[in-house]
């Protein structure tokens, strides 16, 4: 097998394997054996991403896919979050079925849609054409709509409706931005066949018309920002993330938001070259600070722990926006590391919150008391996840947040960073208070909570994820070359 074809296979695998698993679910339904298809597909996805990183980046396949280091890095993030989420799926659904919340048709649909969802995210990060990337991002909205509305209750239906309407409209704006970019590219003598190719556009960016690209930049940030949950277009996020089944919430919060943000990064490379850095910086600083402020305000008095995690995701997206606004190598490296760390930590949190809600039967903070004594294993993963996500050492989010703040002060955005730090402090305090109320204290004398057995596979996966997050806080290890190359692509010119 020549290296070229090996490359093609490796690049097609992250899309093809989940798609095949989806077909498997469609044909065979959800049962004791097929339940593990998803986990197997996720592990294979992660393996192929690592193999891609090892073989080195390259152009591949029909001109539509390109596996450069940034794509490979995002694939690793997708794989790293998908593995624990998919491992948690079987036990989560088994519990739902046992309670009579769902039936065989719904579980089959769950299998098909989650795998389709992962395949669409892989396509989004591998697509070389901005239009194809858009199609894949919009496909994630459609595929996850019924996952958000999985329970068919009033709340779930409402969340799904808001999710589809707001995200589809937002993402439609991004498409208008792509159309406008295409128009500018054709008038800048970019060859028609490559007029939407990300790398080609970045190379020709200096020739793109400024006025037109300014419109495009605003539309693209608004559009993909909606999907990334940046304020003020975040209204759908807490509802959707709190109503989806826990493994889906983990995927949506851990990677889907980052995939949407990845789209902004790709676009930013083009607009920075066409307009200079200031145009995007203004937009992203505004969105970033607004996201932090919204998250801080709504976390203070939050009464629902799944919504608390959702607002925490908005906070982290805001941080990513600030990092992207700063630009430069340090900030971009911190941004990418933050994406990975947030994916690992947030997925562990959502998965353990799923176990908590199944044990307690409620997602209210008040309903959970004394978790540390009632269910020590779940409490431990939840606590560790919380420590990771508020950015305390030794987890990698501490390192990445430190990097972002340092880069921000160095780039002359001191006031922005000061405001951001203040808001983050409020958020840490609020989340710490809610976490303490849930974990410590004496629980209500309720039989049954202890009786719920905790499935082993997801706990191991979560612990592995959190462990990886902690190790990344100390050393990048073999990830370093991939990250370095990805930083260069994402516009981290020194």
């Amino acid at each position: 097998m020549t290296p070229m074809t090996l490359m093609t296979w490796l690049a097609a695998a992250p899309i093809g394997i989940p798609a095949l698993a989806a077909c498997g679910y469609a044909l065979l339904g959800w049962n004791r054996v097929t339940a593990w298809f998803g986990a197997a597909a996720a592990i294979l996805l992660l393996a192929s991403a690592i193999a891609l990183a090892a073989t080195g980046p390259g152009e591949v396949a029909w001109g539509l896919l390109r596996a450069d280091s940034l794509s490979v890095f995002m694939l690793i993030v997708i794989g790293a979050v998908a593995v624990p989420a998919m491992l948690a799926g079987p036990s989560y659904l088994a519990a739902e079925v046992a309670r009579g919340h769902t039936g065989p048709r719904a579980t089959r649909r769950y299998g098909v849609l989650t795998q389709g969802f992962i395949a669409a995210m892989a396509l989004a990060v591998l697509a070389s054409n901005l239009g194809v990337m858009w199609v894949a991002v919009e496909a994630t909205t459609i595929l996850t709509a019924f996952l958000v509305g999985f329970r068919k209750t009033r709340q779930a239906t409402e969340a799904a409706w808001k999710y589809v309407v707001i995200c589809s409209v937002g993402i439609a704006l991004a498409f208008l931005g792509i159309v406008v970019t295409h128009y500018a590219a054709l008038h800048a003598h970019v060859p028609a066949a490559y007029a939407l190719d990300g790398a080609t556009l970045a190379a020709h960016a200096a020739g793109l018309d400024g006025g037109v690209m300014r419109i495009a930049a605003v539309l693209l940030v608004l559009g993909f920002g909606t999907k990334a949950g940046l304020a003020p277009m975040h209204a759908w996020l807490p509802d959707a993330h709190s109503q989806a089944p826990a493994p889906v919430s983990a995927l949506m919060s851990g990677v889907l938001l980052s995939v949407a943000f990845y789209a902004i990064l790709r676009v930013k490379v083009i607009t920075d070259a066409a307009l200079g850095q200031t145009a995007m910086r203004v937009l992203l600083v505004a969105a970033g600070l607004a996201s932090l402020a919204v998250a801080a305000a709504l976390l203070l008095a939050q009464r629902d722990y799944k919504r608390m995690l959702a607002y925490s995701s908005i906070e982290h997206m805001g941080l990513l926006a600030l990092a992207a606004a700063i630009g430069g190598r340090l900030a971009t490296a911190a941004l990418l590391l933050h994406v990975l760390g947030h994916g690992l930590g947030k997925s562990a949190l959502f998965l353990s919150s799923g176990q908590i809600s199944q044990a307690v039967g409620s997602t209210r903070v008040d309903a959970v008391r004394g978790l540390a004594t009632r269910a020590p294993i779940v409490a431990a993963t939840f606590a560790a996840g919380l420590v990771a996500i508020v950015g305390l050492p030794p987890f990698s989010l501490f390192a990445s947040e430190l990097g972002i703040v340092r880069a921000g002060f160095a780039a002359g955005l001191g006031w922005v960073m000061a405001a951001g730090l203040l808001l983050m402090l409020i958020i840490v305090g609020a989340m710490g208070r809610h976490g303490r109320r849930m974990l410590l204290g004496t629980g209500p004398a309720q039989a049954g909570a202890e009786a719920t057995p905790v499935a082993r596979a997801p706990v191991f996966a979560m612990l592995a994820g959190l462990g990886a997050c902690a190790i990344l806080g100390v050393t990048l290890g073999p990830l370093a070359p991939v990250l370095r190359a990805a930083v260069t692509i994402a516009g981290g010119t020194p």
């Binding site: 239009g131 199609v135 709509a145 019924f146 239906t157 808001k162 939407l196 419109i215 939050q302």
Partner: protein
């Protein structure tokens, strides 16, 4: 096709496109709104076919026919079916009354004209000069989405936005590459289907499709 006939016909198509868009604000009858949407789809398809004839581009003509089938045939058919199943014929009471919405639409037209200036400046062809028309429909679609309270009206608002973006794509660059166009059309169709299923669920869960009922989730 001669230039002398091309420009008036193009303008006429864009005019019909715009008119159908703003009339959506005027009507309360949901069936009539769906009819207007179908009319707009036809106008859009006609514009695309006209561009194809003008550039003697067979692929573009075929794409235009496809656009017509999707936007004047399939999507309105889906909405009519959803409407027949629901038995709810009218927009109850929009958040902004009709007279005001029409005046707002006038302001939006001005805004679209101002925003589109850089686009026109880059290449002032007859087709590009019609871009403000598409942007007006986009803003009107937003307005419908924000102020109407029936689920189906919101779907129409979303599809108006989508029509407008498609129109912009064809007016500026004679369309995005075919593979992207196909993907986008599929996404739109699926989104409409998903929204239709959700409408059915909403009716089962809430006993109606009045979006004011959606108040379960809040902080």
């Amino acid at each position: 096709m001669s230039e002398g006939l091309y420009v008036p016909l193009l303008d006429l198509g864009c005019g019909a496109f715009l008119l159908a868009g703003v009339l959506v604000l005027w009507r309360r009858d949901l069936m009539a709104i769906v009819g207007l949407f179908a009319l707009q789809g036809m106008a859009l398809a006609a514009v695309v076919v006209l561009l194809g004839v003008h550039q003697a581009d067979a692929e573009l003509i075929a794409v235009g026919v496809g656009v017509g089938v999707l936007r004047a045939g399939l999507l309105p058919y889906l909405m009519r079916r959803a409407l027949a199943a629901s038995g709810e014929g009218r927009e109850t009471q929009p958040l902004v009354n009709v007279a005001t919405s029409l005046l707002v639409a006038a302001a939006l037209a001005m805004l679209a004209y101002a925003v589109a200036q850089p686009l026109i400046r880059l290449s002032p062809t007859p087709a590009t000069q019609a871009v403000p028309v598409a942007l007006t429909v986009l803003l009107v679609g937003f307005f419908v989405l924000v102020t109407r309270r029936r689920a189906l009206s919101q779907v129409v608002g979303f599809l108006l936005i989508d029509n407008a973006i498609t129109a912009t794509a064809f007016l500026t660059t004679s369309g995005v590459p075919l593979v992207v166009e196909l993907g986008v059309s599929l996404d739109v169709l699926l989104a409409a289907l998903v929204l239709q299923v959700l409408t059915t669920r909403m009716r089962a869960a809430f006993g109606g499709t009045d979006l004011d009922e959606l108040r379960e989730l809040h902080d």
